[in-house]
């Protein structure tokens, strides 16, 4: 039987570096850097002011130490905060995008030209700090849907940006979100007008290329009254032996009868088998069910990053609104994850569902941390939480920290948790029926995560299943 040691060294498929001339600004962080970033992007004064307020506030904050993760202190003055391909990205057409860049995305399986022609997915692509291409823009325009880079939105749709940016994650929110507010480079912006159902999946593909560069993107999605949208996010990074910081902010807003479904397959470089290198993924994602009958749903498959620290959350303001969180988090080798969600019930008859599946292998350390808070006016609200952990081998760990606060007597909160161990016996059983070890593990793990995968859009689900197989290859010995 093959053992962990024999199989574990599966190469990270996306670890290549693109040779492209990049424009960076000096290392370090101060007001001048914030101003340079803002001027690089030709931002209006109000945007710069907002960044500076955030920066000044950040100086008064301390890096949080409560997450159940360990890492060397980050030297924020030794990071590049902005890096962009030198060829000026032409946002009107793909023809003028640097061919090296297009090649990069083709290698990643995101063929922009093909995407444009064949599939029903509109893609916005973020390379290091800037958005390099948005496909399908015109078609979406006809429906009044705005899907563009954040920088463009600041210029072309300032009223929407001013109204909603920071409305869910204020610039004072937390250390990393505040840092992002000061130095964010680009990201995606999406607005679906009243009554419109977005006819295709919208997708952003994030790629970190430059070394020692932080990536700080911001995504803002608004579903106006009765609007619906499904949004996909994918991410990869080259193999580097230094750690890189990724501190993003995602804000979702659903107005009355609006729906936003946000799916992520996160496959940042996780570091090597000894835990060297990899991305620190410190992300703030939050949605506001602002209107009646609105719905926000997060689905995430977290397989990459050296450290993952994020809690996609929903604030259930509107009556009868619904919040959902479906998560599969995998840690192998020396990866650490502290992830979960917050469901804040404020409106009446609000409902939330949390399904979390944690898989730990190697020396991985996996923590679920979740808060369910039901306020005193949120009468007749419900939450169902299920947290399952699966362990492979004897050196990994799984932790669950559920926090539950209920302030009225008409609401109902259920919590279920389980821990299981993938055993030699399960694998032997599959092998005895003709499957090899890899297929057996893949089948067992995918079965475990099935409730989450079924919430992913079809194409993403297939990718996620494969990814899970690769991440865990040889992790049972």
């Amino acid at each position: 039987m093959q053992t962990i040691e024999q199989l574990v060294n599966k190469e990270y498929e996306y670890g290549f570096v693109t040779n492209i001339e990049e424009e960076t600004i000096p290392r370090g962080l101060n007001e001048d850097i914030v101003k340079i970033i803002s001027s690089k992007k030709n931002e209006p004064e109000w945007m710069l002011e907002w960044r500076l307020k955030a920066y000044r506030y950040w100086l008064t904050m301390e890096e949080p130490t409560w997450p159940n993760v360990k890492y060397q202190k980050i030297d924020y003055n030794n990071i590049f905060y902005y890096s962009a391909p030198k060829t000026k990205p032409n946002l009107e057409g793909l023809d003028q995008v640097d061919p090296e860049l297009l090649k990069t995305y083709e290698k990643l399986g995101i063929s922009l030209t093909e995407q444009k022609r064949l599939t029903g997915v509109a893609v916005d692509v973020i390379f290091d700090s800037v958005s390099v291409a948005t496909t399908y823009k015109e078609k979406l325009n006809e429906l009044g849907i705005i899907f563009c880079s954040f920088s463009e939105a600041v210029k072309d749709h300032p009223d929407l940006v001013k109204k909603y940016m920071g409305s869910v994650v204020p610039y004072t929110d937390n250390y990393f979100a505040t840092l992002n507010s000061a130095v964010f480079s680009d990201g995606s912006f999406c607005y679906i007008p009243p009554g419109v159902k977005c006819p295709m999946e919208l997708s952003t593909y994030f790629r970190i290329n430059a070394a020692e560069t932080g990536q700080f993107e911001r995504t803002l999605i608004i579903a106006d009254k009765g609007a619906k949208v499904s949004y996909l996010e994918g991410c990869t990074a080259p193999i580097r032996d230094t750690n890189q910081l990724h501190a993003a902010v995602v804000e979702l807003i659903a107005l009355e009868d609006g729906e936003v479904k946000y799916s992520t397959v996160q496959n940042w470089y996780a570091g090597d088998k000894d835990g060297k290198g990899g991305i620190y993924n410190f992300v703030t994602k939050r949605g506001n069910c602002a209107g009646k009958n609105s719905k926000i749903s997060w689905t995430q498959v977290e397989t990459g990053s050296a450290i993952t620290w994020k809690y996609p959350s929903v604030i259930l303001n509107g009556e009868n609104s619904i919040g959902e969180f479906y998560s599969v988090a995998v840690v192998n080798n020396h990866q650490q994850a502290d992830t979960g969600t917050k469901m804040i019930h404020i409106g009446k008859n609000t409902k939330s569902t949390i399904i979390s599946k944690g898989i730990s292998a190697g020396y991985g350390d996996n923590t679920y941390r979740g808060l369910v808070r039901i306020g005193k006016n949120a009468s007749n609200s419900r939450n169902y939480t299920q947290c399952d952990s699966m362990l492979m081998g004897n050196k990994c760990s799984a932790n669950t920290f559920p926090y539950i606060e209920v302030k009225n007597t008409t609401s109902n909160v259920e919590h279920e948790a389980s821990t299981s161990k993938i055993g030699e016996d399960q694998i032997f059983y599959c092998k005895q029926r003709g499957l090899n070890t890899e297929n057996a593990i893949s089948m067992i793990v995918n079965g475990f995560a099935k409730e989450v995968f079924k919430n992913l859009p079809m194409e993403f689900a297939v990718e996620a299943q494969k990814l899970l197989g690769i991440s865990l290859e040889g992790s049972v010995g």
């Binding site: 039987m1 030699e424 399960q426 032997f428 059983y429 005895q432 029926r433 003709g434 079965g447 099935k450």
Partner: protein
Amino acid sequence: MLQINNLHASISGKKILNGITLNVNPGEVHAIMGPNGSGKSTLAQLLAGHPAYQILEGEIKYEGNDLSELEAEKRAQAGIFLAFQYPIEIPGVSNSYFLKTGLNEIRKSRGQEPLDAFEFLKLIREKMKLVEMDESFINRPVNQGYSGGEKKRNEILQMAVLEPKLAILDETDSGLDIDALKIVAGGVNKLRNSNRSIIVVTHYQRLLNYIVPDFVHVLMNGKIVKSGGKELALELEEFGYDKIKVEVENGVSV
């Protein structure tokens, strides 16, 4: 079909099998009986390729080839099937997906085309009748939430679908009431044919009333101490294992 010569084996340093010799020809049904701890399940698991067991001495030949270096899935692909004493649960994986994947791997190894979903569904429905299983089991997760009897029936269903050349039934009767026992045994009998060999591992004679063996072997302390026809099982039922133990201790030739 199967030749075991002077097989000695251990698990985590503890010696369990102490020189087993057994010859099984195509179409034969052999029953291996013995008291608890005699090494019956070890033998069954070892033949199927469980990695925890270590062969110390002797050899196992299957269709003329040495089996000892072969991974469990290769043995399955070569036509060896083990019906587990304690069938394993695989949450979230449907019975049909599990079995279809296994069957198609086996077919692939033989250069056969994989069955598509429709062909497979037809096949599994047909085979389910053999063990009187309800069709709802097609989509239920593998063994999860099944009763003891349902699990054992599911094992025989898998055997029927995979059509092995050598089937090893490890205590398939344990935990079954008499009705379930009859159904399971009936399923096995329908799968008997002149090319398929079956090894029935059991503690009790009861199962052998329904699956009538050609040969019965008594295993004690990791060794076959007595072999005979089906009447040997009846003798065991009447006198218990103690009588044979005494015979062995007194050096009576068996």
